[in-house]
């Protein structure tokens, strides 16, 4: 069957499946999406696979195995436009906590036969390995932002995904500030918008699952958290959850923990031979973002 519709592929690396599930969670829109795009590769939903190249690839998950490193390059080669979905693909995810520790020690804690486990020392973002055209944030991503990214692709426009902080979303919702009013520690001032200020709406502080906003002042927030009598170790933990290896959150934790503690991290990224690639991809990634070029 030939199709004039653009083809969509969904790829998974190390992840919980929650972000690709978000596409299936678009219950009201799923059949329309399937009408506008030819779903060529989406293993969680379909046995049928069509060979590339693909017009739009959504990539979930982080790079944690030697095989992943090869596979993501193949995915990039077969994709005209590549969009990462979620915190794992965009910053390494919760599994990037290994980057602050010894992965062999981790393997020995979980597995009786750690030698069976094939894994890299680090969990890293897709953009550390290949050029990425757009990064959608969140742990998990927001389904309306996902639909906007897909619509934007179909219409040839830029995705409408604001890079301001969760604080702005609280103001838009009319929330009372949980920190000011109740002294609750909150990462809202440094966290990328997208969730609609969910946690403060449910009377808790933001825990940063959308990762850092455009220009986060983490040092100022650290001081505010100290004023709330939060111990430094707890502040480090607060920055080190689902986006622990996103650059500004990683630096915020390091600044507090200092270079002498267990929190000392390997050079970023961990493997010297990957450093060149990663920097190059970060640069081309930034360029892709600036020009807003639709791949092709």
């Amino acid at each position: 069957m030939t199709s004039a519709r653009p083809s969509l592929a969904v790829w998974k690396f190390s992840s919980c499946d929650g972000c690709q599930l978000t596409l299936l969670d678009c219950e009201d829109e799923l059949l329309d999406v399937a009408g506008a795009l030819d779903i060529a590769y989406f293993l969680e939903a379909s046995r049928a696979t069509v060979d590339g190249p693909y017009d739009l690839s959504l990539v979930e998950g982080s790079i944690t195995t030697p095989d992943d490193v090869e596979r993501i390059r193949e995915v990039r080669r077969s994709s005209r436009r590549l969009v990462t979905i979620g915190a794992c693909a965009t910053s390494g995810g919760i599994q990037a906590l290994r980057n602050f520790a010894d992965v062999r020690e981790f393997a020995a804690i979980v597995y009786a036969q750690p030698e069976f486990v094939v894994t890299l020392d680090t969990s890293t973002a897709i953009a550390d390995h290949v050029p990425v055209d757009f990064e959608l944030r969140g742990c998990p991503i927001d389904k309306f932002q996902l639909l906007d990214v897909i619509s934007a692709y179909l219409l040839g426009r830029e995705p409408n995904v604001p890079a301001h902080s969760v604080c702005v979303e609280c103001k838009l919702r009319g929330n009372v500030c949980v920190t000011v009013a109740h002294g609750i520690p909150c990462l809202g001032p440094v966290t990328h918008a997208g969730c609609g200020a969910l946690c403060p709406t449910y009377d808790r502080g933001c825990y940063g699952c959308f990762g850092p906003m455009e220009s986060p002042n983490t040092a100022s927030l650290t001081e505010r958290l100290r004023e709330l009598s939060m111990p430094d170790d707890d502040i480090v933990c607060m920055f080190r959850t689902f986006n622990a290896y996103a650059e500004s959150f990683r630096r915020a934790g390091e600044d507090i923990a200092g270079r002498t503690s267990r929190a000392t991290v390997p050079p970023y990224p961990a493997r010297p031979e990957e450093r060149h690639d990663a920097q190059a991809s970060r640069e081309s990634h930034d360029e892709g973002r600036r020009s807003g070029a639709r791949g092709g």
Partner: protein
């Protein structure tokens, strides 16, 4: 013969089958989902963090991880959460059963029975059924959304209860959604009951939580159909886990027994007398007896559980009186806490050892799929052996279906599905 990646399962895995001289020689469910080391990096984190952190083990059943972890930590701190807070926990869990099961029934499993590659292809000929399923799935997500804040990785669950509890008024529109969902669920049971099922039965020991008054979800005793009857806290002491080279999920066996099965078939067979009235009627009309031993019929059992969850959720909403406080106060202390809950795919055990300041010294998590993995291999062995007369493509498809019967969640069990059937040439 070889299929490169098994589709319509959560996570990634492979199945390897070796056939020689018309007999099956080896079956391996290979799980290559890269390890993420949750139990390792939980060490040193605060006792308040596991509900948020362990939710990330699985995007399809995050509520299960939140419930097992919260209850295990409460156990360590000597606290029991009951009353309206327990009811709200059951309510959000009903939402997850509806969402996760409907995803599997309609989008992952039904295409096998009707001969489609995906639910989207199926929609071309069965649009009303697919639309009904999407509506039903959405109703489940609506519960999680409202009680938990969002459908994937809800933010409102904490150790001790919730951050904020809904008002009666906030829950009211949900009741309307659920009354419609209940009708959709009845039709879904009727729809899947009409599928054709291969004649195949297994004799595995069934293990599930049981509760004197409820179709157990959130707590209870761990029982089996062959006399196992233990406190939920003691599960780890009754199983052994084995690490095999072809899987990053650990295999579990019952001590001094054999492999066992958790999940919808086990739950139904142990608890069918405690189904809600409409679900019990629907089960009977669908031709299910008091127990179900044909894994292909698990699709009917899941549909019945969805209907039950809709009724249960409605009852909870109708009887709901908001608690005085959104959470019970918890003072951390040194100790060990353990708990089981019924994730959509079966028994999920968490164990935490806390230091006196509440930091985590050790964490153990036993997800349902790692308990079922040896059983799935066992079933596949017998199923392939009984169907060696099928041509290659048909055998491959049937084998994949036999795996999907268990809705294996490979992300949970860490723990990738690609099917290889290798005919060993003996000449």
């Amino acid at each position: 013969m070889k299929v490169d990646a098994l589709a319509r399962v959560e996570g990634e895995g492979a199945m390897y089958v070796e056939i020689a001289d018309g007999a099956v020689r080896d079956v391996q469910l290979q799980i290559y989902e890269p390890p993420r080391f949750f139990e390792a990096f939980l060490r040193g984190r605060a006792y308040t963090e596991p509900p948020d952190i362990t939710a990330r083990i699985c995007g399809i059943c995050p509520v299960a991880y939140q419930m097992s972890s919260a209850r295990a930590i409460e156990d360590a701190c000597g606290v029991t959460v009951d009353g309206p807070l327990r009811e709200l926990r059951r309510l959000i869990y009903c939402g997850e059963w509806i969402e996760s099961h409907t995803l599997h029934v309609a989008m992952l499993h039904a295409p096998d029975f009707l001969g489609y590659e995906s639910a989207i292809d199926m929609a071309a000929d069965h649009r009303p059924a697919v639309e009904r399923s999407l509506r039903l799935k959405k109703a489940g997500n609506d519960i999680i959304d409202l009680v938990g804040g969002r459908a994937v990785h809800p933010v409102n669950v904490r150790v001790g209860g919730f951050y904020r509890v809904p008002t009666k008024r906030e829950l009211r529109p949900l009741a309307e959604t659920l009354r419609e969902a209940r009708d959709d669920a009845i039709e879904t049971v009727q729809w899947v009951a009409g599928f054709e099922f291969p004649d195949f039965e297994h004799g595995h020991e069934y293990v599930a939580l049981t509760h004197p008054e409820e179709y157990a979800v959130i707590d209870g005793r761990v029982q089996s159909d062959r006399g196992l009857d233990i406190d939920e806290r003691d599960l780890l002491e009754h199983i052994e886990e084995e690490h095999v080279a072809h899987s990053t999920a650990l295999h579990a066996h019952l001590l001094e027994r054999a492999e066992y099965l958790v999940g919808p078939l086990a739950r139904y067979s142990l608890n069918s007398t405690r189904l809600s009235p409409i679900a019990a009627d629907a089960a009977r009309s669908a031709g299910l007896g008091a127990e179900c031993r044909n894994p292909f019929r698990s699709i009917v059992v899941r549909a019945v559980e969805v209907l039950h969850a809709c009724e249960e959720a409605l009852d909870i909403i109708e009887a709901y009186e908001p608690p005085d406080r959104p959470a019970v106060d918890i003072q951390p202390r040194a100790g060990v806490g353990r708990a089981c809950t019924e994730a959509p795919r079966g028994l999920l055990y968490h164990r935490y050892e806390l230091a006196d300041d509440g930091s985590i010294l050790d964490a153990r998590i036993i997800p349902p799929t790692s308990q079922n993995q040896p059983t799935i291999e066992h079933d596949l062995w017998h199923f392939v052996e009984a169907n060696l007369d099928l041509d290659e493509e048909a055998l491959k498809l049937r084998s994949e279906q036999a795996i999907r019967n268990y809705d294996p969640c490979i992300s949970c069990a860490t723990h990738f599905l690609d099917l290889t059937v290798r005919e060993v040439d003996q000449t």
